[in-house]
Amino acid sequence: MIGLISYLVFFTTVAAILSIAVLGLNLQWGNSGLFNGGVVAFFGAGAYTTLILGGTPQEAHLGGYQLFYPLALAGGMVAAGVMAWVVGILTLRLRHDYLAIATFGVAVAFENLMRNAEWLAGGAQGLRGFERPLHAWLGDGFTYNALFLIFVLLLLIGTYLFLQRLILSPFGRLLRAIREDEIAARSLGKNPARIRLTAFVIGSVIMGLAGGLYATFYAFISPQDVLPILTFQIWAMLIVGGAGNARGAVAGAFLIWAAWTASGWGLSRFAPVDLQLYTGSIQFVLIGLVIVGMLLWRPQGLFPEKLVVSQSGRH
């Protein structure tokens, strides 16, 4: 029983962290029509930076600044934001495929750098030596995990409320206006590239926050955590939840994460031993089918909202 509950806490924590990342993506894609092909890079920047800033001194690589935890977490968000700003400033004036390619490239390069640069973040070994905040008082047990879950849930709610307000603010209206009719918005004297850049950076900062929480939760991060599959999972969550719909996005995150863990568990348990090597491939095919299937048959997502900023509205 206690095992089940602590598993549920574990599951909910990870799903809630991923929900935060999905909310960041929802701002970029759902509200602004910006394609981010490298979610994992911004997530990873947050994760790595948080651990580097907040961790204990390490022999072989950067880190050990032992910053006060909220500062370390904020540092991770800043790192993600700076990366987004650089990519955005170079591509957002161009046709939308440039952003897609450049963000995809960032993710490839980020993972590659983390895997190879041992002096930077431990290379393939990953980044260790991080003590979870308040760990000395709360220990490592169930209490800690439960409290951490509450912390994550509060941040999820905070992020959600912040984004709701942002969308209803004049800035949010501008975003919608640009998405619907870029030329008209420009003729009103607005600079669409600048506004899109802002949305892109904010979304990435939120992904950085999710990454920082993820790394905190495991007190460890390695290149295995920043593989492209994470980007696909986060997309699938958004598409299933319904782009443009924040509550749907959170629901999508829990649903896809549940399906992913369940399918992983099922395959590892029931698949014959000689096929174990291929369970990953099967899961990838499934997630590909989810993405393509949703786009073909239910592009508005499983949880469409009444007030949809419809994407097909322009045709």
Partner: protein, 304 residues
């Protein structure tokens, strides 16, 4: 140095073939097709299968051609693989892209292409196994072209380069001298006007998939011949191919051809200063450099 340059040119020719098809699709259908590189994988595996079939049907086809490791069976298989890969590209368009397009989800096409890429890549892995395969187990020794500086080239590499160049020359002749080529360029410049001029856009889209798929298959086989075949071949070549299209300017066919060589050479030369582990990241650096220096690419043609 010289060795890196030569290797770069050899890889570059493969990237060019991939990038030409990708840039045409991106220009015509206006989306970044992340599944294009999977067509290279399809092509490589397809040739592997038919190579086996031909050898089994008629063993003399298993003889190698001249000094190459390439057999007559594989030579035939390249042509068949180009056909089948082109057909697969059309089929994928019919099943997925065309339907997403007709729903007006122009931007959703990018998502769809990622999903398609994941499906193809992992289905290939399930079908053929995750371990690398080779067209031929025979060891073909590299020819020493020069001792000082040391320059080694395998006959297969020369064959791939020459064949890739030949394909590009044929494509050039078609584009520059046939009304079909004019029509392709017309559609790229101004789809509406090209319709008014009597061009059937749907038919053009199919033709572009045929060209893109055919070139990708050839690139995939050449890659398999000079390296090895594995299910992540497409994933590994995707970023360099994208980089080639950006170097050339998206939509520019000649730009993509030049861009492929440029990316191949630059990636190999980069190994002179960077440890080899970093080579997958080099195309991204190239993309960044182009976006900073000349975002529209170096060979961009005028676009409507």
């Amino acid at each position: 140095m010289i060795q890196h340059l030569v290797d770069g040119i050899l890889v570059g020719s493969i990237l060019s073939l991939g990038a030409i098809g990708l840039t045409m699709v991106m220009h015509m259908l206006r989306f970044a097709n992340f599944s294009h590189a999977e067509l290279l994988s399809i092509g490589a595996y397809c040739a592997l299968v038919f190579d086996g079939v031909f050898k089994a049907l008629y063993p003399p086809l298993g003889n190698v051609v001249g000094p190459l490791s390439l057999t007559w069976a594989l030579t035939l298989s390249i042509l068949i693989s180009m056909t089948i890969t082109a057909a697969s590209a059309i089929l994928i368009d019919l099943l997925v892209f065309k339907r997403v397009r007709s729903k007006g989800g122009e931007l959703s096409m990018v998502f769809a292409s990622f999903g398609v890429a994941m499906i193809i890549r992992n289905v290939l892995g399930l079908m053929f196994g995750l371990q690398a395969k080779l067209y031929s187990q025979d060891i073909v020794f590299a020819v020493v072209l020069s001792h000082d500086p040391l320059l080694l080239v395998k006959p297969d590499q020369i064959f791939s380069l020459v064949a890739a160049l030949l394909i590009m020359v044929i494509l050039h002749l078609v584009l520059a001298h046939t009304t079909f080529g004019y029509a392709l360029r017309a559609v790229a410049e101004n789809p509406n006007l090209s319709q008014v001029s009597g061009i059937n856009l749907n038919r053009m889209i199919i033709l572009i998939w045929i060209i893109g798929g055919g070139l990708a298959a050839a690139a995939g086989v050449f890659y398999g011949l000079t390296n090895q075949i594995n299910p992540v071949l497409g994933r590994d070549l995707l970023l360099p191919i994208f980089a080639a299209t950006i170097v050339g300017g998206i939509g520019s066919i000649y730009g993509a051809a030049m861009g492929g060589f440029l990316v191949g050479i630059a990636s190999n030369l980069a190994l002179l200063i960077l440890p080899s582990g970093y080579s997958p990241a080099v195309p991204f650096l190239i993309i960044l450099a182009v976006l900073i220096v000349r975002p529209t690419g170096f060979f961009g043609e005028e676009r409507a």
